[in-house]
């Protein structure tokens, strides 16, 4: 619940009051000022020690919250009284729950792990000289978490970084504004971050600012548990990690020792165990190595979690979609803010991301000298991902003039490399003003980032991401499709485009019914050298869906009509026949099919002629591959026929199947009778040998089967063309009702039960061609050969209003024996109507069988986002001519002054002096 509130700090005169919103999201209480950036806090309810309703003037409803650290905040609830009462009640309940859970007691132990406590409790801070070292040594003995830097030194010269002054400023701030779990973020918090966090505090502040602190707080011990549970486990990720351990900030002393390496290994492995789907991506090693300098393994682990999960979403995913998306966003921002540079890049065909991709992926850590990169990282954790874009734009703007000279990618990269190497230099070396000369290029960069690109807001980034998401997804899909098709060992007789269509169907099936995660082979079994992601394989259920996309008999399509609308419901068919096909295609016998299996399998049936198809069908049903069908298998064959023909119009097919049965058993018995006891098994592939059958199980060989099949005209035509034609790759017909006569078009009323096939078979054996049902739902036949025989009128008569809205529950079978069923032409009239009705009908006829697929398709149609096109005018105006930066010394000076001022507000005079010093401080490599 949220409520309007005015926040005041409980200390007189320390901070102004801010209006904003107070959020109760148990177990946290959060506040955000109206501008969403000035003042913010998130505190666990367990750190609230006391809540008091303040006795104030009438009409004012204020609470005083005493926090763990002794600080006190006053929130004035400015919503209506009942709302405020409700809020208080909820707050009380939430606090009670926390108390019962014993969370209040955990705070004390937890904050001991935070360096800020040491800092604040040190009531007599060391004189502001650089006595940091001594201070550090005694401090490190206490139990707070710290990084490798405590042992191996932090990068940079503490003196030049003004460590002591920074520590002092922070100590003051943390004393009055809470710390770690209860940190209240007022404007000067952000400013202090902008001048660079002090090394000792950096790790903890990253945690606090990014929120990973709360994850660590609420999941105590999880990190150790993960490592313990997975001891000795090796995965592709752990192997990849192993390769990169010695390549992560190798110049840092900590990573030349086993201590640093093993810490890095544990953190990266723990994360890969926690998030196996992401696993490990190069560049994570650099991030992890960087943050481990400043924080403990557990802290780093949780920060990594926040980084990968929230701050850099999708950056390190196997598809790296987040990276690609943000590169696209960045490019569009460049186009918008720095159009001249963008145009030049277009003109000379330079791709921005050759340089900018590593910036984003490794947070500048392997692009810039570390001390500078860490300052950007400070801002990143404090202000969010927009910082990366702001800094990126500023880099381009500052180098604008030179960028307009470059001619190719290589020149671009070299220029950037030189620029980053010179960040410590004076930005205005020739200026007469010593203050101007003292400004480093890095300071200039930050100024430009935050001053000139303040238009880049979180909201803008989010909306831009939304805008390009589909584009990126499409391009990733296209790319993976292309590679998947390219990597097929054999295309069979398919063209690349056709294989692409098979891929589409497979992909769609995997979206609806994702392959189980167990699909990743057990990591312990992975052989060395299995670097690539394991081949995607689908299980039976996904296969059924896939087949429903590809084969007309693989789906149950019903054209449902009631008085108001017509629509197509589609269900995935299930039948033993499909299972049989699945295992038939599973040539490697692993219970799952790969893309290659599917392509090869389809290749085996889609291009066949009559004889090949008969043989294919025979082999499919010859379970033990001995070249003979048993009697049971003959029955199965007829079941398969019935399954495929289940929606055909008229009784022609039933008759055909019945004749097949009769003939098969007749011939079979005859041969059986004639034949001597040939034990020799005849290969099914040898067509011309209708040899006598062995007496017992093997019953019908291919030649006999072929003879039986060819004895029937309908079956012959089925094998000649219809079977192959029943596989359709064209996606259009998959998704929508085809416009008109594409051979699919007979329609047939029937009831719905998915296992109707079995019953059909029973019915068939019982009484052939008997039942006439009144049906409300049209089943689209898989073959539809006989549609032309029928007369339109017949169907019209069937479409009585009473039938239209009756439901599919009817138990009547669809057996097409009725002479009154002559549906083909009506079907045509139906099909013409249906598409429009699909589009218009938003409320599904609930009475009729619910079809998730159509629903999904409709939903997909509806949710296809209208692209929000941001009006970019404002930004355009803000974008100044970027080539003249260097001429603006004076301007920059002004900005620096402003920057300095900004940092000092709210601090004491003495502190202001320090802050001023800080701003001129030179970061050192």
């Amino acid at each position: 619940m949220d409520i309007n509130a005015v926040l005041s700090l409980g200390i007189e005169g320390e901070e102004e009051s801010y209006a904003g919103k107070l959020y109760l999201m148990a177990p946290y209480l959060a506040f955000s000022s109206l501008d969403k950036k000035s003042v913010r806090f998130t505190i666990p309810l367990s750190t609230i020690r006391r809540v008091e309703r303040l006795n104030a003037r009438a009409g004012i409803y204020a609470l005083s919250l005493a926090l763990w650290h002794g600080g006190k905040i006053i929130v004035q609830l400015t919503s209506l009284r009942p709302t405020a009462d409700l809020f208080c009640a909820l707050l009380r309940d939430a606090l009670k729950i926390e108390l019962q859970r014993g969370r209040m007691k955990t705070v004390k132990g937890f904050v001991k792990t935070c360096y800020s406590e040491v800092l604040v409790s040190d009531s007599a801070p060391t004189p502001s000289d650089e006595k940091d070292e001594a201070h550090a040594n005694e401090a490190s003995e206490s139990s707070y978490h710290g990084g490798l830097g405590l042992r191996f030194k932090f990068p940079g010269d503490p003196k030049k970084l003004r460590e002591a002054s920074k520590i002092k400023l922070w100590t003051t701030y943390l004393k009055t504004h809470g710390r770690n779990l209860t940190l209240l973020r007022y404007p000067q918090c952000t400013r202090l971050v902008q001048v660079g966090l002090p090394n000792r505090l950096r790790g903890e502040m990253w945690e606090t600012l990014s929120g990973s602190l709360f994850l660590r707080y609420s999941n105590p011990g999880l990190y150790e548990q993960l490592l313990e549970q997975n001891t000795g486990r090796t995965t592709t990720s752990t192997e990849d990690i192993e390769k990169d351990l010695h390549r992560s900030l190798p110049e840092y002393a900590g990573y030349q020792s086993e201590e640093g390496i093993s810490a890095l290994r544990r953190v990266l492995q723990a994360y890969s165990f926690k998030n196996p789907e992401l696993g490990y991506c190069q560049a994570m090693n650099i991030l992890a190595a960087a943050i481990l300098i400043y924080m403990s393994e557990e802290q780093a682990f949780w920060l990594l979690e926040v980084l990968c999960d929230r701050l850099l979403p999708g950056y390190y995913a196997p598809s790296m979609h987040g990276t690609l998306l943000d590169q696209r966003v960045f490019e569009s921002l460049v186009q918008r803010c720095l159009p001249i540079i963008h145009d030049h890049f277009q003109a000379v065909d330079v791709q921005l991301s050759v340089a900018s991709l590593p910036w984003f992926l490794s947070l500048f850590i392997n692009s810039m000298p570390m001390v500078f990169a860490f300052r950007i990282v400070d801002c990143f954790f404090c202000m969010g991902p927009k910082v990366l874009f702001q800094v990126g734009l500023a880099i381009l703007k500052i180098n604008g003039e030179k960028l307009l000279q470059i001619q190719d990618d290589g020149g671009f990269l070299n220029l950037m490399r030189d620029y980053f190497a010179s960040l410590g230099d004076s930005a205005h070396p020739h200026s007469t003003d010593p203050r101007a000369r003292a400004i480093t290029r890095f300071q200039e960069l930050l100024l430009v980032s935050f001053r000139e690109f303040s238009v880049i807001t979180d909201d803008l980034i989010l909306s831009e991401r939304k805008r390009f998401r589909n584009e990126i997804i499409t391009s990733i899909e296209t790319f993976s499709k292309r590679s998947a098709v390219r990597n097929l060992r054999s295309l069979g007789r398919f063209s690349k485009e056709q294989a692409g269509l098979v891929y589409d169907a497979l992909y769609q099936a995997m979206c609806v019914i994702p392959p189980p995660p167990a699909q990743l082979p057990p990591p312990s079994l992975i052989q060395e050298g299995l670097e690539e992601k394991p081949e995607t394989r689908i299980q039976l259920r996904t296969f059924q869906y896939f087949l429903s996309e590809i084969a007309t008999w693989g789906r149950d399509e019903k054209i449902v009509s009631n008085g108001f609308q017509q629509r197509v419901d589609r269900d995935v068919a299930e039948h033993e026949f499909i299972d049989r096909l699945f295992f038939f295609w599973d040539t490697s016998c692993c219970g799952a099919l790969s893309f290659q299996d599917l392509v090869s399998g389809l290749d085996g049936v889609m291009f066949n002629d009559l004889m090949e198809n008969i043989e294919w069908f025979f082999n499919l049903h010859d379970k033990n591959k001995d070249g003979f069908l048993t009697k049971d298998e003959v029955l199965t064959v007829s079941e398969s026929f019935l399954f495929i023909f289940r929606f055909e119009v008229g009784d022609a097919y039933l008759g055909a199947v019945s004749r097949f049965m009769t003939n098969a058993f007749e011939y079979g018995d005859a041969l059986l009778a004639d034949g001597d006891q040939h034990k020799e098994v005849v290969e099914g592939d040898e067509p011309r040998s209708p040899l006598p059958l062995p007496s017992n199980q093997p019953y019908l060989n291919l030649a006999t089967f072929r003879m039986v099949v060819l004895a029937d005209e309908i079956l012959e035509s089925f094998f000649e063309t219809d079977l192959s034609a029943s596989f359709r790759l064209d996606p259009v017909t998959e998704l929508e009702l085809p416009p008109s006569s594409s051979g699919l078009l007979g329609e047939f009323w029937s009831s719905i039960a998915t296992d109707s096939n079995k019953k059909m078979f029973n019915m068939f054996t019982d009484e052939i061609g008997k039942t006439i049902g009144k049906h409300q739902v049209v089943h689209r036949p898989s073959i539809g050969r006989y549609k032309t025989l029928e007369e339109p009128k017949a169907r019209e008569s069937l479409l009585t209003p009473s039938m239209r809205h009756s439901t599919s529950k009817s138990s009547l079978r669809s057996t097409p024996s009725s002479s009154s069923l002559r549906p083909s032409t009506p079907s045509q009239s139906l099909t013409v109507k249906v598409p429009s009705s699909i589009a218009t009908s938003k409320e599904p006829v609930s009475a009729v069988g619910y079809s998730p697929m159509v629903q999904a398709a409709n939903a997909a149609l509806l949710s296809r986002p209208a692209f929000t096109i941001d009006d970019s005018k404002d930004e355009d105006e803000d974008a100044e001519d970027d080539t003249e930066v260097d001429d603006h010394d004076d301007q920059v000076m002004d900005e620096v002054d402003a920057f300095l001022e900004a940092h000092d507000s709210g601090l004491t005079d003495a502190d202001k002096e320090v802050a001023k010093d800080l701003l001129n401080a030179e970061p050192v490599k």
């Binding site: 990849d240 560049a283 090693n285 070299n414 790319f479 590679s483 050298g529």
Partner: protein
């Protein structure tokens, strides 16, 4: 490094070359050997791609290779087109001690042939030859160790090559097999060792010969032919300032007949 400055040299012909291959086959070491004739222990992994340049002299002209050394990890694959677009040459590297890496190389070749510049010159390089040549190092241990330095990616623990005695059994890809594939696919083929330097310069020499230089020149600035001597200005490695390809250029091919 120093080569960055020489970008303006007009007399050289720029050739964009991309290195592709599975992770840990030694792409970076191959480039490093070629560009600076050295090993660099513990190089940071390639994020996206690294960019290096090197000049080569071939007969009377100077080629300036712009080399894009790409990241090998599978998930960086989708970024690769960014680097191989417009490339005139590619070196696809595999590890002769790892059969799977040749498969990956083949898929790279396929991709290049379909997606990249149609005239791209592709060379297939089977790296880590030193691991199967006991003679080239006194002991297998030494060999594995220095390979470790050559390219850290190589030094996958647990995969470390066993001592020299059985070193030949480490080979998983017979030379003939790879050669046959390369011939069939129309690739230049080499077995190399970034550690010993064997075969490295040859790759780039042969590529240089095969590249339709006239084409490039015509496309860029209308036929100016580079002169030797333009290669002078590289500090860094004095003796190797520009790799002189001439001695290898005994039988110049179509590209070099000016």
């Amino acid at each position: 490094m120093a080569d960055a400055a020489s970008g303006s040299t007009d007399k050289s012909v720029q050739v964009k070359l991309v290195l592709l291959g599975e992770a840990a086959v030694g792409k970076s070491s191959v480039v490093l050997r070629f560009v600076s004739d050295e090993f660099q222990p513990n190089k940071e992994p390639t994020i996206g791609a690294a960019f290096l340049t090197q000049k080569c002299r071939l007969e009377d002209r100077v080629l300036r290779y712009e080399i894009w050394d790409t990241a090998g990890q599978e998930r960086f694959h989708s970024l690769a087109p960014m680097y191989y677009r417009n490339a005139q040459a590619a070196v696809v590297v595999y590890d002769i001690t790892k059969a799977a890496s040749l498969e990956k190389a083949k898929s790279w070749v396929k991709e290049l042939q379909r997606q990249a510049n149609p005239n791209i010159v592709i060379a297939l390089a089977g790296n880590k030859l030193d691991l199967v040549q006991p003679s080239s190092s006194s002991s297998g241990n030494a060999s594995s160790e220095s390979e470790d330095e050559a390219d850290d990616a190589t030094a996958t623990p647990g995969e470390a090559p066993s001592p020299g005695g059985e070193s030949d059994s480490l080979r998983q890809v017979p030379r003939e097999e790879a050669q046959a594939y390369a011939t069939e696919a129309g690739l230049l083929f080499f077995e190399t060792s970034a550690k010993t330097g064997e075969g490295i310069v040859e790759i780039f020499t042969e590529i240089a010969k095969k590249i339709p230089i006239e084409h490039i020149l015509a496309a860029t600035r209308g036929g100016g032919v580079g002169r030797p001597g333009a290669a002078g200005g590289r500090p860094g490695n004095a003796q190797d300032a520009a790799v002189n390809l001439e001695e290898n250029a005994n039988k110049p091919k179509d590209a070099c007949n000016c």
